[in-house]
Symmetry: C2
Subunit: 139 residues, 2 copies
Amino acid sequence: MKLGRLNHVGVATPSIERSLERYRTLFGADPHGEPFDLPAQGVRVCFVDAPNTQIELIQPLGPDSPVAKFIDKNPDGGQHHVCFEVPDIAAARADFEAQGVRILGPTRVGAHGTPIFFVHPKDMGGVLTEFMESPQQAH
Amino acid sequence: MKLGRLNHVGVATPSIERSLERYRTLFGADPHGEPFDLPAQGVRVCFVDAPNTQIELIQPLGPDSPVAKFIDKNPDGGQHHVCFEVPDIAAARADFEAQGVRILGPTRVGAHGTPIFFVHPKDMGGVLTEFMESPQQAH
């Protein structure tokens, strides 16, 4: 499997609204669509466009959110994960599993509506890494 | 100033060689050129290509390196910074300074040979952010 397109950098924030305000003030950047909830993942998300990729702002939906702990440790927010595209999520998962790479939980639908999974940071140089099926190749 | 191209994601590592081995094994990815030292910044760096951006692997050159503390806290390595391109580094610096954004140190030459500066994570949602003059627009 080749290293695919960097779909987005995931940035945790205590407040998507305050983060959007900063992007607006500093860069005149508007969000790519309105923020929306992903209750299954316990997060509210919003994308901001750079010319070649996106920033995914992620805010915990509540104290049980997996991102809540991150914000407790990093009250200003911070870099949370990176996400690379793959042509076929099932093939990517099988390939990683065959190589002993630890995958976190089941394959599920991500913020872009295509299947995704996360790989354990311990197996990716300390970087929490998401793999998502490319939108143009989704079934 | 508009949000520019994401030139790279900076990933700190205790060993560039071991990180490269992982990219090679998992993705068949070769480095974009050999690792090289940036003694003025106290780091050894190496780039790996994704189709739309790069990963910058950063290894501390010694215990006094600014990245050494990061590796002490994150022995596996981890996400260190993101870097966006700007057309004119002096204009970007003046623009940020006028808005009260804290810039870390002087403008200096970065790993791509063009002028760069870093912005304080406190002023960028907890994300250490580098701005670099686009190579194609460098003087």
